[in-house]
């Protein structure tokens, strides 16, 4: 797959050429060359670890400006449940939904409604799945990681659209019906907690086409929204279409809880996700039916575009979920069959770590990597601009570094 959209970019003015981002990248997708960090985009899963690690704020998320909504006649906001955990003293989610309307949107469609539908479809799918455990496909960074590094596990991925895609599809159709406008006059805008979701919504993963017209950032919408929410004088109307199950998707374990099965596992944080995937690949993790993996600590509330600390946000959401009905949306209400929620295409694996497409040449190159690596100090200091001594050797062999490039530590001696 050619990537022609980048969800994480670098501000070269702010980049000091330190190696913090490079050392934190779980797929070794960053190099420091000429004193600036570079992203090897074919390896970037959009997890946002580099953004977390950069103390100079040189790493940026490529989201749409708020003004993009002005280009559409009828505008619909898709707030994710993680957004509900960002506010001080919020007791009623309808303030958030009303605030979005006051901000200029004509309607709102909760992503947590899409999540409840996804949970229902997942329950039906698992009962007939022969490829247990089923691995959640809701976190796009995890899906990208599996497509790049855990090809064995691709067939375990839950082949249904993400809640935001389900919400976007249903929202557009409902708006066409309600307004009589052409579908392209309707603008659907997701308010994202992370760069990974921006990337998949722009490029499609299990989707053949982008379901949204723009992706805004929670951090960018937040202050505008708080202002509108504070100006609400009377108790807002009831607009919620999700219950505690859908809202629970905001944090780790929420999606798994919605499967209503006992044998599940939920892990969060990209390194933990990798450990679980390794265990699945080694056959050492058995007797689970469902595996939920979230690249961010705490789940989606831990995405880098959130304003609040993930664990505080999680506590706030827990409070908001009290006294909510379990669900408010079921697929029967929408009169859709299961195929409506299924992946529209099978995402392809990406052999980005392969040294060469030809096995014989790959063997030769690996021998060269081993020979170079044997000479290196194995300090993984990052001075050369590669995250480890091994990746330095791989860079030389793969031509990412000029032939004859020398380890700066060895040069000193």
């Amino acid at each position: 797959m050619m990537k022609n959209f980048y969800s994480v970019t670098l501000d070269p003015e702010k980049c000091k050429g330190c190696i913090n981002c490079m050392k934190h990248c779980p797929t070794e997708a960053i190099r420091v060359r000429g004193g600036k960090a570079q992203i090897l985009y074919d390896r970037c899963i959009g997890c946002g670890e580099c953004i977390r690690a950069c103390s100079h704020h040189a790493k940026k998320v490529n989201y749409d400006p708020f003004s993009i909504i002005d280009g559409y006649e009828y505008k619909i906001a898709l707030p994710p449940p993680s957004l509900y955990g960002q506010f001080q003293n919020l007791t009623n989610i309808n303030y958030v939904l009303q605030g979005l309307l006051d901000l200029g949107f004509d309607d709102v469609f909760e992503v947590s409604c899409g999540a409840e539908l996804a949970s229902q479809v997942t329950r039906m799918y698992i009962d007939h799945a022969h490829n247990l455990p089923v691995i959640s496909s809701a976190c796009p960074a995890v899906v990208e990681l599996i497509l790049m590094r855990f090809h064995n596990l691709k067939d375990h991925l839950l082949p249904i659209l993400a809640p935001v895609e389900i919400a976007a599809k249903l929202a557009r159709e409902a708006a066409v019906k309600k307004t009589g406008l052409a579908p392209e006059k309707i603008g659907i805008f997701f308010i994202s907690p992370c760069p990974a979701k921006i990337f998949t919504l722009k490029t499609g993963l299990g989707s053949t086409s982008s379901k949204v017209d723009g992706v805004l950032a929670q951090s960018d919408v937040y202050f505008r929204l708080v202002e509108k929410m504070n100006a609400i004088k009377t108790e807002p109307d009831e607009r919620m279409t999700s219950g505690l199950l859908g809202v629970g998707w905001a944090s780790s374990g929420g999606e798994a809880a919605g499967v209503l099965k006992e044998k599940y596992l939920a892990a969060d944080g990209i390194e933990n996700c990798i450990s679980v995937l390794e265990a699945l690949e080694n056959n050492t993790l058995t007797d689970v039916d469902f595996v939920e993996l979230n690249a961010c600590p705490g789940g989606c509330v831990g995405g880098v575009l959130n304003v609040e600390n993930p664990f505080i946000a999680r506590a706030k959401i827990k409070k908001l979920r009290k006294y909510m009905p379990v669900t408010r949306s079921r697929i029967e209400d929408f009169g859709r069959d299961l195929s409506y929620f299924a992946w529209e295409k099978d995402p392809e694996t990406m052999p980005v770590f392969r040294l060469d497409a030809d096995f014989g040449k790959a063997l030769m190159k690996m021998q060269q990597v081993e020979d170079i690596y044997a000479q290196l100090p194995k300090l993984d200091c990052g001075l050369c601009g590669a995250p480890s001594c091994r990746s330095f050797a791989e860079d030389v062999v793969s031509g990412r570094l000029p032939e004859g490039a020398v380890c700066p530590r060895l040069k000193e001696e």
Partner: protein, 142 residues
């Protein structure tokens, strides 16, 4: 076209690092572009053998040769050895101590799994001297 030889020391006194060698090998095979179903078989067989070495023999050496048509694994230890190999091969037979079982290992499936996931497997063992497990997985199914 020649193959490549890799070797790993498996640390015996640190159970929490058990499985690191097979993880390394898995990554190397992915870099070589080996078919993912083959990688899965190598990963399972090598992981089981590596864990066995840590549990029973205080570690040892793991040698991996990737040849154009096959992958040859040899895990060699200087542990207590296996007195009755036939018995050890039985599903469910285990001599792992309770402390190891408490961690979820020692189900007596290690050797049977190694046999199941490889094309050829040979155990050479001498009580008091050590054990060598040789395994071959052919790439021809590619």
């Amino acid at each position: 076209m020649s193959g490549i030889k890799l070797s790993y020391r498996v640390d015996g006194d640190n159970f929490s690092s058990a499985g690191e060698a097979s993880e390394q090998v898995k990554m190397r095979l992915k870099q070589l572009g080996v078919d993912s179903s083959i990688i899965r078989r190598v990963a399972i067989a090598m992981y089981e053998a590596e864990i066995n070495m840590v549990i029973h023999a205080k570690g040892g050496m793991a040698y991996v040769e990737v040849e154009p048509d096959r992958i040859v694994l040899s895990l060699q230890d200087e542990g207590p050895g296996i007195a009755d190999i036939e018995l050890a091969m039985k599903e469910g037979y285990s001599t792992a101590p309770d402390t190891i079982r408490a961690l979820g290992f020692g189900a007596g499936m290690g050797l049977p799994n190694m046999k199941k996931y490889t094309d050829e497997m040979k155990i050479t063992s001498e009580v008091g001297k050590g054990t060598t497990v040789d395994m071959i997985i052919y790439l021809s199914a590619k």
